[in-house]
Symmetry: C2
DNA sequence: AGTCGAAAGGAAATCGATTGCCTAGACGCT
DNA sequence: AGCGTCTAGGCAATCGATTTCCTTTCGACT
């Protein structure tokens, strides 16, 4: 239809210039105006003072209902939207929070952001997303920016290798750490209970009758990897079992999953289930097992971690996985931030339970 | 130096309460202050008026170098950061742009955002990310929010099914559409030249000696799918070839890729290469071909689209793919927006070329 | 020596909205 | 009739930074 028409693309910038020159599309639809409407224009139209107009629009003061209505109609008619800068200059509130992600924005940050937006959107607040790209300089730069913008609060997030140093001390605004936790235990952090997730994975495998369970995960220096590994081992021990093989530490990707499958097969460990530290590892492992003639789940059941749709659905059979409920963490962090903003700070770390999502890779 | 002395921090408001109560973490690191420092405090410390302080810090006015320095030192000492609200109230600039994504933030929006941030960050501007979740109501709500915050400009992005209706007409700020295009040809849009991408894919396959080429892609009602399909067919025609099979339209996922492989095999079409509309389709197809005993690339070469790291690396063999350079599009959109903000609006649609990234799935 | 001009910096208006304080009526009560 | 009270809404200060205009001071030139 549309497709590539001429694509004329058009001059620009003669000796005219300003971007307010937007002839082109008029055609009078609705809503928006050329030059910003101020509250005094609204007040004038309604025949009141600006102060009264402000009260009318904000539901404050003692006004006759008809006056209030008149102002509201005037505002509507003019398409008035309050200048946020002016308002926040006066009130000290910006109805904005900053979100600093330390790793590059990615698979983990997005659900967190969405969850946070959900919780904040209800309170009419907006989110400033800052991607520090794992660079402390950028991070401090963004922090300054956020402070200069007088955000009402800050959410710090990032990939979870270790607890991180607090982003600042004595900041003039409350801070909540989401997904990652602050090294200072008095700071407010919301994290997934990864041990819980690992336990659920193991218990699920036990429930479907597996007894010889191995664990393949990411780098040993990742907090997540070690925590999950330990919890998995403890879960097995609680049932009087031992791991079917030593925990295999590697990378968080499919290639390592494949390689780990090879290791498990070659060592001759009799394994009837593998709990993997990520869905990618799990998928690589599944493919390599199948290539070696094993069937999943009959010969080997596999559980992943993250519940990343692309991986769990792409894998054949579909992958059972542990969901950390990142949106829930984001939402929860935002709620704690709101409560801090409203004068009820919360300290300490909160761990939220995970959820096991069973699929074909562990079906009996 | 300055740093945190005791910072007792101060009761206030009732049986505890306001969030400014942050006793807790002292311990004197650097930077940040309890209560916002204003320019008058800086001015007082430097022994000048606020006006002079402002000039000193912004490099304006006629000041003795030593005065300027004194003010700068005072600012540094107090950790002064200008209040953005006050500044923008005065200057009319916020050094902020809004980015509205119409689909849920995802795989495509992130690189666009990163590219835009790159281009804007250099100009010290920040990005407000708004996820409209494909809901026109949310979209208009966010638009109002952005306008009330007096952003300097807006970037609209989203998944590309069709050109979209302009987000508003006669807006008081410039708008650039990125990845998706506006239906109004006078609006400024930056899009990938998908036809170019398809041509590159076909030409690459031809270059590695393939002649019987099929195309498997997404839904027919997706602009991307039809544009790529047509360009692919035209590329073949230009060499006097016909497609080895009719274009197969389906979903943008692995399952469809597998299914399509089955279709191609069962119809007995002799195919020595498949160009796929997405990396996911390609991966599903590759796996199904292999399961049916074909080898990639010897029997069948496969090219994907998107160059999505997770897919192209996860696939065995690694997947040759077409990269739309989303970051570049984001950067380019931001640059055009900046130029509009600076009074040189650009109209019309710009298409940016794609890039073919060869990998093992088409290696000779 | 007087005038002119440049240099340096201060005073005050300004941006737009909010809000505390005050006043003018209206009304009720004794 | 006079006084108090309540209500509706206006006035003006305020938030913090920028910027225009103006004053002062000093030096140079005729």
């Amino acid at each position: 239809m549309l497709a590539c028409q001429e694509r004329v693309t058009v001059a620009l910038s003669g000796p005219e210039g300003n971007f307010q020159v937007r002839s082109g599309n008029w055609g009078g639809t609705l809503s928006n105006i050329e030059r910003a409407v101020t509250i005094s224009q609204v007040a004038a139209l309604a025949g009141v003072s600006t102060g009264t107009a402000s009260k009318a629009l904000n539901g404050r003061g003692a006004l006759r209902p008809e006056t209030r209505l008149r102002v509201q109609q005037a505002a509507e008619q003019l398409g008035f939207v309050a200048n946020a800068a002016a308002r926040s200059l006066q009130t000290g509130r910006t109805y904005t929070v900053g979100m600093i992600t330390t790793d590059s924005i990615g698979r983990f940050s997005i659900p967190l952001l969405i969850g946070a937006e959900d919780a904040l959107g209800a309170g009419q607040m907006s989110v400033f997303l800052c991607d520090a790209r794992d660079d402390p300089i950028r991070e401090q730069y963004y922090l300054r920016t956020l402070l200069s913008r007088k955000v009402d609060g800050i959410i710090v997030t990032g990939r979870r290798t270790q607890a991180r140093a607090p982003i600042g001390v004595g900041l003039p605004v409350p801070v909540v750490y989401a997904f990652i936790s602050s090294a200072d235990p008095r700071d407010c952090s919301v994290v997934p209970d990864e041990a819980d997730g690992a336990r659920r994975a193991i218990q699920h495998l036990l429930a479907v009758g597996r007894r010889r369970i191995a664990h393949v995960t990411g780098p040993e220096h990742h907090h997540s990897a070690t925590v999950r590994a330990r919890a998995a081992a403890e879960s097995l021990a609680a049932e009087g079992l031992r791991p079917a093989a030593p925990t295999l530490y590697g990378e968080w990707n499919e290639a390592w999953g494949r390689q780990a499958a090879g290791i498990l097969l070659s060592t001759g460990a009799e394994v009837d289930a593998v709990f993997c530290g990520s869905d990618q590892i799990a998928r690589g492992l599944v493919e390599a097992l199948q290539a070696a003639g094993r069937t999943v789940p009959q010969d080997v059941a596999v559980v992943g971690f993250d519940n990343w749709d692309v991986m769990v659905d792409g894998c054949r059979p579909a992958l059972t996985s542990v969901d950390m409920d990142l949106e829930g963490i984001g939402r929860s962090a935002a709620e704690l931030l709101l409560s801090a903003i409203n004068g009820e700070p919360v300290h300490g770390q909160r761990a939220r339970p995970c959820r096991l999502v069973p699929r074909a890779s562990t079906a009996v």
